[in-house]
Symmetry: C2
Subunit: 220 residues, 2 copies
């Protein structure tokens, strides 16, 4: 079995050479992913934190509470950031060739704390817009206290790679005649019905950009 | 904004004390997640790999190509494994209180290579059954060469924690009257239509356990 490790007959964009990678392919995955996982090291122990990200050119912006371990530790320390999009379960005739169709990006770099209030506000706008395009101009922006409570890390992307598996299972020739159904079960993102805040003092209609977002994601 | 970092008004199961955690809550997340992210450290640099996992009591089993960096490095080295399930986008009236509803588990331990062929075969059965319950007895099992090409790491779970955010946005009192729609956009897993392998020599019906799996996941 070779889930997440197998790239035979698939596009492999991995290129460990620093600064040399299929940038567009990697950035498409970075920009499609709703969130990422960040790894950092403390005293030899790795930690992984799921968090929200945004990309500004070749810099990845990461986000968390100012008090969080990740934010406090990310500055000037090596990070690894991964985005993983899972597209389907690949069912082969042999256990060994079972797999997952996926697209993943891995980014490396050192974190730098963003402390300038204007840059921080700009980053928070980007995070909000990534979570829901159109939202930033609809909501109350962070005040000074909130800006202070929010940590933003900028990670210049030093190297990155993408791994993609797509398509049907690839079985050995001698297994093709086995009486086993083989194929792919596609995994898709869908949305439940909107749940308005039950504590809302008055009923407001859901904004148009919300439906636009849902439609755009379902088309993808 | 406080995506993935905020736990106010939510159950917090994190407890950094080794061996002392809300085991059932953590294991429910571990067992529901289709895959995990594993972090390990090489020369001070963290790496994250998405991979398939299975749980056997208090031991986590991880899987990869024997040749992969993760498998070669995981033995006797500290690992961090995270499972993240995302349930919804939380839209508050203030940018600061935007969040994500999610359930995540973080597990720590040292990896141990599983080399005994019988134990390895048992682990591969578990991985296959996690990917698709009912599949293992339907497919060709790994032969000696395939067993050798597959790396299995057992990680006794030394400590673990869960973080869960659920429910509506939590805005500051003074923001409640803002004319901004607030609430949750639920994110759900769905499935596309099965895609049979176009290279199949004969058309076979999809097995019953596949539909059972789809139905069970949609009910959840």
């Amino acid at each position: 079995m070779s889930v997440f490790e197998r790239t035979k007959r698939n596009r492999v964009l991995r290129n460990p050479t620093r600064g040399n990678y299929e940038r567009d392919e990697v950035y498409r995955i970075v920009d499609e992913a709703l969130y990422c996982h960040v790894a950092f090291v403390m005293d030899g122990q790795p930690y992984i934190i799921p968090t929200l990200h945004a990309r500004e050119g070749d810099t990845l912006l990461l986000h968390g509470s100012s008090a969080s371990r990740m934010i406090r530790h990310a500055e000037a320390n090596p990070l690894c950031v991964t985005m993983t999009l899972v597209d389907g379960i690949v069912l082969a005739r042999s256990a060994f060739h079972h797999s997952i169709n996926y697209r993943s990006a891995v980014l490396f770099g050192n974190g730098e704390a963003v402390s300038d209030p204007e840059q921080k506000m700009d980053a928070l706008g980007r995070f909000t817009e990534r979570l829901m395009p159109g939202r930033w101009n609809d909501v109350r922006w962070p005040d000074r206290r909130e800006l202070k409570a929010t940590g933003v890390i900028a990670m210049p992307i030093e190297s990155a790679s993408a791994k993609i598996r797509s398509g049907p299972p690839v079985d050995d020739d001698e297994d093709m005649a086995l009486p086993v159904w083989a194929g792919v079960l596609p995994l898709e993102q869908s949305f439940g019905a909107l749940i308005a805040d039950p504590d809302a003092p008055v009923d407001l209609p859901a904004p148009e950009y919300l439906q636009t977002y849902i439609d755009s994601r379902l088309d993808g």
